[in-house]
Symmetry: C2
Subunit: 334 residues, 2 copies
Amino acid sequence: MKLGTIKDGTRDGTLVVISRDLKRAVKAEGIARTLQAALDGWAEKSLALDVLYKGLNAGKVAVGTFPFDPKQAMAPLPRAYQWVDGSAYLVHAERVRRSRGAELPQSAYEDPLMYQGASDTMQGPRDDIAMSDEAWGIDFEGEIVAVTGDVPMGAAEVECLAAIRLLTIVNDVSLRGLIPAELAKGFGFLHGKPSTAFAPVMATPDELGDSWKGGTIHLPLTATLNGKLVGQCDAGVDMSFSLARLAAHAAKTRVLSAGTIVGSGTVANRDESKGCSCIAEIRAIETIKHGKPQTPFMRFGDTIRLDMKDASGNSIFGTIEQTVVKYAPQRAGA
Amino acid sequence: MKLGTIKDGTRDGTLVVISRDLKRAVKAEGIARTLQAALDGWAEKSLALDVLYKGLNAGKVAVGTFPFDPKQAMAPLPRAYQWVDGSAYLVHAERVRRSRGAELPQSAYEDPLMYQGASDTMQGPRDDIAMSDEAWGIDFEGEIVAVTGDVPMGAAEVECLAAIRLLTIVNDVSLRGLIPAELAKGFGFLHGKPSTAFAPVMATPDELGDSWKGGTIHLPLTATLNGKLVGQCDAGVDMSFSLARLAAHAAKTRVLSAGTIVGSGTVANRDESKGCSCIAEIRAIETIKHGKPQTPFMRFGDTIRLDMKDASGNSIFGTIEQTVVKYAPQRAGA
């Protein structure tokens, strides 16, 4: 089944069920007002949502359906209680280090890198990337993510796999100019990882069919920067830690509450012809080859488009399409 | 005004208004079902809550009041959308570094250290500290925290000061055995900072009177470990960055949504006679003086009590009283 959230003037929006072809939607109000509410009572709510989804696909929902417009979509979870992001495609980290003349430590191949991200202001698929300063080195990062149910402390990978409720793709916006100094302080990312943007749709793993296997999605993630295809890395290739393994890593010393979002880190393939899912890696490859980077980070007006299509060429989660703009504060009175 | 959340079987509990003396409470259902809902619409909701609070203190709420029992309290925000924790008492960091023969870099005196914490499973004031392994080096950390309203990106300290809605004290549980290896990986805390516990009550800044000044609380935080007083550090002394400054730091590259919790880091004073607000610092002082630490980290069965009293000796936020226990998974079916 496919779920999303549409704008209604509230902070959490309205949960909608979206047809498999992403063309029609219907509010799920009678079942759950928000996606978080659905996740909080998933065992029961998901059954009712699935009935609605099947009816929508079959054209049998008599009232309340409307054309699904991604411009009206918020992030499926506009505010989430947890966002943890791993670094599962080690070739990404290897290239970035190699461009600096360094090597990835052996421990990275056995013990996942993961940071605790901000989850209070998730961005919608068409929201602008609003930043105060171009000099921050604005970059996109194409990733796949899983949303979990409740996960006990110390849960094994197989238990986490069973707890994966939904999947989608994200743009983990990164500020490359701020990250080196921030990481040198030793407490991880804060300024360098502003609000993450989500595709309009989250899908249950069964929607992926054979492409969902071993805790990852075996399909290419396409990245199009200012209209030019720059990446088509397969998320099922060169992934060292599955989404389930990453969830188990996060759960080592604490339970994860329902609605926890677990990210893969930038999708990357060893095959260079597949391109890259972020500018930093493009620049790393340029530096390794030519001694210096050529591709600039994003400027105001630049656009990024991320998408994942199934074997028949149909978008699964809908596209993320964002433009970088200069931030202008809205002083809300709440 | 003083607010808290009591258990009702749901994930977010029921918002209650609590009398100034912490003895009586009344549900705020007609105004807001949860504290997050109150924070989401603070401009309007806080006025109605304040009327209820004044009536409760004056003994004029005719129906629905009941004795307030901290054992029935959840964390005031049982699930929060954001928890960022600074390191504002630099003497704490200095002592820990000095015990290892290192010095704090000069940058730490100008640019706050801060980590993004997990906010999906905040613990109540009497909840056990449930951990799988004593060898993780279980420690408490006594801190003060502010809860903000919406904060625009790039907000100045003075703007953040005006956005502070509520204050309380927390136990930022830390796993000292896991932190060094984790920080060496470079992505900050994940395993080393499990769920944080909160006092039963959050208070608006006006409740603190003259003790709320310059973005901090000028009162001692008492820490009692296994019945022995080990710390009474004044949170208004030796604080290098106010709670408002810490919020401004967090807001540099993104907006903070209402209900963001900003922490001070372990409260610490240069005057050694005031003791310490965590075991790691006690051990650092022991190491500096005697060459090795003497005080062990917490074991199963150990207890920690944190409290902050006003000038008249009355607890402001109620006490945190927790016992360390062996974690036993509850496999919920949600």
